[in-house]
Amino acid sequence: MADVKADTGAPALRPRPLSPHLQVWRWHITMATSILHRVTGCALYVGALVLTGWAVSLASGPDAYAAYTGLLGSILGKLVMIGFTLCVFFHMANGVRHLVWDIGKGFLPKTAEFSAVVAFAFAAVATAVVWAIALLTGSV
């Protein structure tokens, strides 16, 4: 133990080995779903605040409500709302995958990759259906 110099404060003689970093990994779909779960979760944090703004504008009267829904209904507002719709449905589908993993099922690589494709497909289809309904009912 004579050469242990942990408490001398001297710098390490050589850099410590690092675990593999993002750059050395080939992108695969389960990795994409994992990262996107966090990204969409952060986006939905903002979405919760946008919903709060809606409630406040409704409580503030017709003029405030018209101004706020006008903002949401603008071109940029609609793009953001389509984004939130995608985030809700992706995070929802991927959240169900997490709940299935929590009971110990679905870990085989093929199963996990298939459920990742299903999560992406569900997000795309559900978003398309919601906005088609909005278009048909005159909401957009």
Binding site: R38, G41, C42, Y45, A48, T52, P62, Y65, A66, V96
Partner: protein
Amino acid sequence: MALAPKSYRTPLGRARGMGSAHHGVGHFIGQRASAVALLFLLLWGVWSALKLAPVGYDGAVAWLHSPIHTALLVLLLAAGFYHVRIGAQVIIEDYLHTPLVKAASLLLNTFVCYGAFVLAALSVLKVAFSVSGAA
């Protein structure tokens, strides 16, 4: 000096208080319980948004006069801000390691989530309890 230590944590580690806060299991279960609730509440929320988009201010006020709609919307806000708060806390704890920045971010996260929840819920209740036509 005891021969058999009760814990493998060093006295320094214990003094610094950097170990488990023993809140992890509660967060783990709460995150999943709110996730199951949100699965249903968000589907209802998206469906409701489709109904509310074309009907304007009067339609939205009339819609909130239903106690079921009021209750579900407040539950959506409660489950949503709870889920979002502990989710963001995990991300903050994963990526921010400077003690002051981390503590400030955790505090801000808590303030924003509780603040926005109270603001949104009170707004919803104000409309829900307003007299029809005079809102």
